[in-house]
């Protein structure tokens, strides 16, 4: 997943390192489930029905981003107003998904700061700043998308490729582990996911010639438990000539096969980052995630073959990290129209109309893909949510125009779903670009795109919010936005969806019709996924307004929580 265009990534115990942290403070408990000062596995398992907390980056292990409380609803949302605004110390890209446990909120900022806040008042409880090493090789901005909570710890993954565990009550560092070598282009911007004592983490670096992975660490000690390489040693695949939707990708298979025979498998520097959280299916104990683009992004000549498992949805076993199944959307991608937005587990109708466990993923291509969870197979793909033109024209030296541009469609932004309506909600970009190819040797951990993506300055850019019926693939409604959309969306039982725009608009729409029911001007780009939570019987909706580096949306430093009286 790249994305600069408009654009164009200590083992063992470490002493406390909370620069300038506030004193730990007593936090008032407010919950209906048991002792919530510790986040139990049971609580995590039930997070989809938890009308108080927001325990996971995408709401729950299924990643539905559906919040089950309806105190704020279509009838009263017009009265929504800020309850509090918290200013962080860092005025840069905000991509954090606020996590709320028992009245305590955890948010992160660019450059890996973590704040614990009183979720009712916005008062700061503690502040942790990661001391970053000299080399952080990140793509697309100094972002962080949030923490994971589990037991009495808070987990943060850092730009310099470390995984850090903090004491949830005090913000003190408990341990820190090296995930990978940042000098080779590895970095972390995603929130970890914790399941059954395992902290799961993917990696950025698909723009730097890494070899991608998902790793599992022991939640108590930080010890590495297993590694799943997203690039197998044999990455050639089946030499597919069409994409998931059946369109010809104009591959020169004979030339690729010759290059493969001559140079061998390119797996060592083939990319395949995993930018976003896996979903988890307790029934089969499997996780589902998507793998990003091959390296270098635009130049396929140096990486013959399908480049497995790049641009794919992959399922593996939680306990062992062993492969279960995969589905590749675009073999041998040379456009960076990869797979980034997190997977969602819902029941779906298969081709025969039977209800089966499914997996959804919204692609940069602008399609929502619907899979059968059993074998990863594709059941259907939605109508395109953005214009597609000239697909799949090959990149050229002078630039070939193709839509969507390389940010999508749907970028890393998580989708939301409302299973009661069979609906998925996605935010999209429309950014016409030209794709340029330029051959370059592997530059040892430096940016390796094999060319460039360029926004066409004379063409109009915009975005949209799209509701898709995932049982039919049809678009139910669509609302155009002034600017391309990056951030995220939340659906609630109140019949609402909440999302933000780069121009600072934060808004609530009727999830059945797309009618705009409320909006607020946050003063800086709202490019972060909203969360919702309830404290002392009152529901809130919270979002970060800090703008975005990737699309250069106006920067800010506010976490804003809204409620109705």
């Amino acid at each position: 997943m790249v994305k600069f265009a408009t654009r164009a990534l200590v083992a063992g115990a470490v002493a406390l390192a909370i620069a300038g942290a506030a004193q730990a403070q007593e936090v008032k408990s407010a919950t209906k489930y048991g002792n919530m000062n510790t986040v139990t596995q049971d609580l995590m398992n039930r997070s989809a029905d938890d009308g108080n907390n927001f325990l996971h980056t995408n709401g729950n292990y299924q990643q539905t981003r559906f919040y089950p409380n309806k105190q704020i609803n279509t009838a009263n949302v017009s009265k929504l107003h800020p309850a509090w605004v918290f200013q962080t110390e860092v005025k840069d890209s905000l991509e954090t998904s606020p996590i709320v446990v028992n009245g305590v909120m955890y948010v992160t900022t660019s450059f890996d700061h973590v704040y614990a806040l009183n979720a009712r008042t916005g008062e700061e409880l503690w502040h942790y700043k990661q001391k970053l090493g000299p080399v952080s090789t990140y793509c697309c901005g100094p972002n962080n998308r949030g923490v994971a909570v589990y037991g009495d710890m808070v987990y943060l993954a850092t730009l310099d490729a470390k995984l850090v565990a903090l004491n949830a009550k005090t913000g003190a560092q408990v341990w820190s582990t090296d995930v990978a070598d940042p000098e080779l282009g590895y970095s972390e911007t995603m929130a970890p996911t914790v399941i059954n004592g395992k902290v799961l983490l993917g990696t950025n670096g698909g723009e730097y010639g890494i070899r991608g992975f998902v790793k599992a660490f022991d939640a108590k000690s930080g010890k590495l438990l297993w590694t799943f390489n997203t690039i197998p040693e044999n990455s050639q695949g089946v030499w597919a000539t069409t994409d998931a939707t059946g369109r010809d990708m104009h591959r020169d298979i004979a030339a690729e096969k010759a290059a493969y025979a001559k140079n061998g498998d390119p797996y060592k520097t083939l990319g395949g980052g995993v930018w976003q959280n896996p979903s988890y299916d307790p029934a089969t104990n499997r996780i589902f995630f998507v793998v990003g683009n091959p390296s270098p992004d635009l130049d396929g000549a140096v990486r013959p073959g399908d480049n497995l498992y790049t641009d794919s949805m992959v399922s593996i076993d939680l306990d062992t990290g062993k492969y279960s199944c995969h589905f590749q959307y675009i073999a041998h991608d040379v456009w960076d129209l990869d797979a980034v937005s997190p997977t969602v587990l819902v029941d779906v109708k298969d081709a025969s109309g039977a209800t089966v466990p499914g997996v959804l993923h919204a692609g940069k291509t602008g399609h929502i893909y619907v899979h059968n969870r059993k074998d990863c197979s594709l059941i259907r793909f939605s109508e395109a949510m953005v214009p597609q033109e000239n697909m799949w024209v090959l990149p050229t030296k002078d630039g070939a125009r193709m839509l969507p541009g390389a940010n999508g469609g749907v970028e890393w932004s998580p989708i939301a779903t409302d299973p009661s309506q069979g609906m998925a909600y996605a935010i999209n970009l429309h950014q016409p670009m030209t794709y340029h190819v330029e051959n370059a040797a592997y530059p040892s951990g430096k940016l390796w795109l094999g060319g460039a993506f360029k926004v066409i300055p004379t063409e109009e850019q915009w975005g949209n919010i799209t509701a898709v019926n995932y049982n039919s693939g049809k678009i139910a409604w669509q609302v155009k936005t002034e600017q391309p959309m990056i951030g995220g969306i939340l659906a609630t039982a109140g019949g609402l969806v909440f999302t933000g725009e780069p121009n600072g608009t934060f808004e609530a729409l009727d999830s059945a019709t797309g009618a705009k029911l409320w909006s607020f001007q946050a003063g800086a780009g709202v490019n972060a996924p909203p969360s919702s939570y309830t404290v002392e019987g009152k529901q809130y909706v919270v979002v970060g307004a800090g703008g975005n580096a990737q699309i250069d949306a106006k920067r800010g430093n506010a976490i804003i929580s809204f409620t109705v009286d």
Binding site: A8, P134, S136, L159, A440, K446, A452
Partner: protein, 193 residues
């Protein structure tokens, strides 16, 4: 080579000698850094317009440039020789030392409005600030380019375009898609930022 004087060449030789047996200890770093100051400036203002400011530059970037000069991914008559014998800890210590210094004011004039608009349009299409960040300050391995010397900026961008500066194929590929007039506007805009 843009430093033509014999003096510079002599300095470079002296620098190589000084760095021949370096250690990463703090006082040794001061000593080594004094050698750098002969070109990069006592107070951070370089002695020649073709020499970049390194005071206050980002730590990861400084380290990687020294590494690249050493391994030959980036070549320069003066710097290649200076970095040739340097060990990693010395490079890291120098990077930390110079990044902690204040960024110097090179007294470059602000670009006129039309030049600024021209450069901003390029930024809008290439997303320069997606990496170089707000106010062109960069971070970690991405350099600060706002307020850098105009002549150095022009020259290094020209070297990216010609392939002479080969330590970052991305910057090279990106800048190749622009015209001389574009590069000139960028250099003037960034230097005066």
């Amino acid at each position: 080579m843009r430093i033509k004087s014999l003096i510079a060449a002599t300095l470079a030789m002296a620098a190589v000698a000084a760095i021949a047996a370096p250690a990463a200890r703090a006082d040794d770093i001061e000593e080594t850094a004094a050698v750098c100051s002969a070109c990069h400036g006592e107070a951070g203002v370089p002695v020649d317009k073709s020499i970049p400011a390194i005071w206050g530059q980002n730590e990861g970037y400084l380290y990687l440039q020294l590494r690249d000069f050493k391994v030959g991914n980036r070549k320069n008559v003066n710097m290649s020789e200076i970095a040739a014998g340097m060990e990693k800890p010395v490079m890291k210590a120098l990077a930390a030392y110079f990044s902690a210094k204040p960024w110097p004011n090179l007294q470059e004039p602000s670009a006129p409005h039309d030049v600024a608009v021209h450069a901003e349009n390029i930024n809008n299409s290439a997303g320069c600030k997606g990496c170089h960040l707000e106010n062109w300050q960069g971070d970690s391995v991405t350099p600060r380019v706002g307020g850098q010397g105009i002549q150095y900026l022009r020259e290094t961008m020209a070297q990216f375009r010609s392939g002479e500066r080969a330590n970052n194929p991305w910057m090279a590929a990106l800048l190749k898609t622009y015209t001389d007039a574009d590069i000139d506007a960028l250099a003037r805009y960034l230097a005066g930022y």
